[in-house]
Amino acid sequence: MSIAAPGRVEVDYAGSERLTMNMGPQHPSAHGVFRAILTLEGETVVGVDAVIGYLHRCHEKLSETLTYAQYPSIASKTDYVAAMTSEFAYVRAAEQIGKIEVPKRAQYLRVITSELQRVASHLLWLGTWCLDLGGALGGGATIFLYCIRERELILDLFESLVGARLLYGFYQVGGVRYDLPPGWAKTCRETVDLIDSRITEYERMLEDNPFFMARVQGVGYISRELAEDVGIAGPLLRGSGVNFDLRRADPYSSYDDFQFAVPVETAGDCFARYRVRMVEFRESLKIVRQALDGLPEGPISSRPGLKSVAQTRIPKGEAYARVEGARGEVGCYLIADGSAKPYRMKWRGASFSNLAVLPHIIPGHKVADVVAIMGSVDPVFGEVDR
């Protein structure tokens, strides 16, 4: 466990004795299983060494033994908080190699589900972040329970569409596996309007509230150069002033049919990332409304219904398909060898790179800030450890 060379670091205390503290794998604000070995001088963090890998299931080896029909429902286990967009990346990579055309209705269904999933994932982010900031016996828990109450509405929507609440297996090479049940669009519109009004409520509880601002403004600054160098993506990148959103950069799955704004903040601190995500709430809800209005009729998959395990075969080739997940660019680099199973699959998890920026930005902050930064980076450890 190596920490920075002592000479380089000037701290307030003249060489007082350092305390090595474990924000261990079972820590309440560790967002899953992540161990940060903090070197403290008083309350100030001097060095961070991150230990990950507790949730490693080797998805990449798994994908070499599972066929194209089986793996999407396993892919949702990488980023289990935004399961829809995880499957999307794998399925898009296979379709790009096999040049499989996806019917218009399936593309719209994919947009609706991944945008709803983004709202659900951001709700969980806001809830757990305020829980970290405010404590389970304080104001943080209030906002956490409000967010969970709203997230349940979206999970009910997914449950009536797919049957499952968290891990769906909704995507399939060539389209989607389920069509909208009757009356789903109406309940979806009601839920979207309700969540829209509730988000204004959260903002009224947090927006330039002295306690909240004191904790998040100016904390965890990520410069644009460091952001691009480490490869962080999504709300973190847009929080540091980079106007890059995959839904706008290379519009996949008919995203260019919808009008939505891409929020960009230049401050680069926790508050900027918070602002970016709060605007993304509204943009995603706007996309869902537009997609529901323009939902075309037609088939939901360009390939016949799945009848057997080795039904979809992808010709030889390779492709890197990227999807704008809730946490950033979720990519799947697929090499197919013509059989029913991929030869090699590299999963580019957004949280893996987002987490890699922590050792660069945490030193110098107080212990309380480490928790705020961890929350604003919003890592999901299924995606980090794969």
Partner: protein, 207 residues
Amino acid sequence: MAGREVQTVQDVRRHRDARRTGGTDIPVIVRTILSAMRMTFMNLFRKPVTVHYPDKTRNYPDRYRGLLALVYEKDTGEEACIGCRLCEYVCPPAVIKVEMLKSEKRNYAKSFTLELYACEFCELCVQVCPTDAIVMMKSFDMPTTDRRELLLDKDRLHTIGLSFEQSWATGNKLRDMQGPPKAARPVAHAPAAAEAGKPAAEGTTVS
């Protein structure tokens, strides 16, 4: 990591002071504090969302993916499962083990075990079943004190099939929903199943 320069307290303080605004003008502080407290007070009069689980159960949507179960043929009353092992091949965590019992008119499943503790409820087995034998129920209550009870064998699966309400999805319904709406496709399950079964067999020698 000697080569990596580390952020110091001075850098952090500089970034914070450059971005820290507000926190000093009293009217904004008072307004935001009161608005935050008004939100929690307003919530005091909203109906709580808690569902008292054991007494009142939630209504499940009709596509709910709950417990796995085997069903009996509607008309003849026999077991619907023909032991074609398609579900065994398609199951990602490979929790289903089936042995086929050959007989003259149609085949049966000699044994059908399903390790419920490893099942992921992804509904692929229901989707590939040619005779709609395996379906999912609208219930998830499987609490047991002993993991071995979760190794369901054929008759346990049949009793579950009779004791709960069956959810909407069956093999044919799912395939019709997914497949492009052509005219009645030549519904030749048996040969297609047998042919598809062979190449898949050697493909998935998962330990």
